[in-house]
Amino acid sequence: MRVVHHPILGDLPKVRQVKIWVDGKEITAHKGEPIAAAIAAAGIKIHRYTTKREEPRGVFCGIGQCTDCVMIVNGVPNVRTCITPVTEGITVETQHGAGRGGR
């Protein structure tokens, strides 16, 4: 959910929108924001499943330290989505395990 109105920060400024593809679905993102913010705004919480127990993981630290939020971006696995900005047309996929064999 976007924070459109804010008592200190004011209204959300108009920014350029870009389209990204998340597990095959088109999502509208704000230019410059990290992938994690774009997919959180779209209500997506699960970024990956762990290798051994296939447990779901999402954003934990939000600043690139913990690597819990990694996904497959443009075919590259283990991309930290909380610090990787969206760009027009990128594909983002839920990662399973170490994401080897990502396209």
Binding site: R2, V3, G32, E33, K45, G62
Partner: protein, 382 residues
């Protein structure tokens, strides 16, 4: 290879002030930061700071970040964003950073990660100001999506303007837990409760009062037992703890929440310092493993200095002062002294002593003195 006098890692309050002091003394200075904007965690601090005028009380963190960056830029500091330092070779003090071609000069809103390339910088002195990292808390279900650091939630709402959830439980009633709870309310979230395992609220009364006035219960002597849900947080179970930290049976209650924020302290982010083979020591009052440093902020590795939360988790005000101290001392070690340095250092030490006094802070002053004592014995002599 690029050559500089001073390479600073981290563009938060400590790194920027360190760079400013170095550049003012004629050091060719570069600051490297992995984030797209300088300012460290200040850029998420939308509340007014406390304390004295000289520590910019009454100013919001975001404004402090802006003014520090402009001060650095006008002092001739080069700030590189989206530049993540991943190696330091101690023989030459070579910094290896992964950076973006467009990021050499800053505030490029067009910056992307698509053209990143490695970069080596030979630095005569390095100041590490890599900040802190949030502590995790282990309970059943703590890895479920929806459990996150309070700082992660703060980054989401104040920087990216996205609410991570609708119904939120905050674990920890220190200043971080209290302030971020209020900011989550400002962003439109519903705070279900703030729980605190100790018997008293750890943060300032004024922050607690704000969220109490908003109708959010602050439950002291309460801990979290579990988080559960179908692949994401849907509920939390909390319970009372007694004076010996045992769960009071029968006191469990279930809360319907979709987000659980963890605000149980921070630790020094000593990864890079550790990689550079700086010796660490364990100091509970300073947040855990912290690089040993002397009174000049130099570590056990000659030429590598530290400042800010990396040298002990404290506050932005202390980071601003320590950064200046490290910058002045690193410059002096290169022969770039300035008349008045001695007085400046004494003034900084006096202000740090002030920031570390009082019933809540004296333990940090004691821990810092102990750390510096070890540092004076183990760190290289000037």
């Amino acid at each position: 290879m690029r050559e500089v006098d001073l390479a600073v890692v981290g563009a938060g309050p400590a790194g920027l002030t360190a760079a400013i002091e170095g550049a003012k003394r004629g050091c060719r200075t570069v600051v490297l930061d992995m984030n797209p904007r300088p300012g460290g965690q200040l850029i998420k601090q939308i509340h007014r700071f406390f304390g004295s005028r000289e520590h910019r009380a009454g100013t919001r963190g975001i404004e402090i970040a802006d003014s520090l960056f402009h001060e650095a830029a006008s002092a001739g500091v080069e700030v590189m964003v989206e530049a993540e330092v991943y190696a330091i070779h101690d023989s030459t003090l070579e910094v290896v950073a992964q950076t973006n071609e467009d990021s050499l000069v800053l505030l490029s809103e067009e910056a992307t990660t698509s053209r990143s390339r490695p970069l080596s910088i030979a630095a005569r002195r390095i100041i590490l100001a890599t900040g802190g990292a949030e502590n995790a808390l282990n309970f059943a279900g703590w890895t479920l999506p929806g459990v996150m650091g309070a700082g992660a939630a703060q980054t989401m709402i104040n920087l990216w303007r996205v609410l991570p959830g609708k119904k939120i439980l905050m674990v920890g009633a220190g200043n971080v837990g209290l302030i971020i709870s209020y900011q989550l309310i400002q962003a439109g979230g519903e705070m279900v409760a703030v729980i605190e395992a100790t018997s008293r609220i750890g943060g300032y009364g004024v922050h607690a009062a704000k969220i109490s006035r908003a109708g959010v219960p602050i439950l002291t002597s309460h801990t979290i037992i579990s988080a559960s849900g179908e692949s994401r947080v849907e509920r939390a179970v909390i319970a009372k703890v007694d004076a010996s930290w045992r769960i009071v049976s029968g006191s469990e209650q279930e809360l319907e929440v979709d987000t659980i924020c963890i605000a149980v302290g921070l630790h020094p982010n000593a990864r890079l310092a550790s990689l550079a083979e700086c010796e660490l020591c364990y100091s509970p009052s300073l947040g855990g493993w912290v690089p040993i440093h002397n009174s000049r902020m130099e570590t056990t590795i000659s030429g590598i200095y530290i400042a800010g939360d990396l040298s002990g988790v404290e506050e932005a005000s202390t980071a601003l002062e320590e950064g200046r101290l490290a910058g002045i001392c690193a410059a002096a070690s290169l022969g770039k002294e300035r008349a008045g340095d001695y007085d400046d250092i004494k003034a900084i030490e006096g202000r740090l002593l002030g920031l570390r006094s009082g019933p809540f802070c004296q333990h940090r002053q004691d821990a810092k003195q102990e750390l510096i004592g070890i540092g004076e014995a183990q760190c290289p002599k000037q």
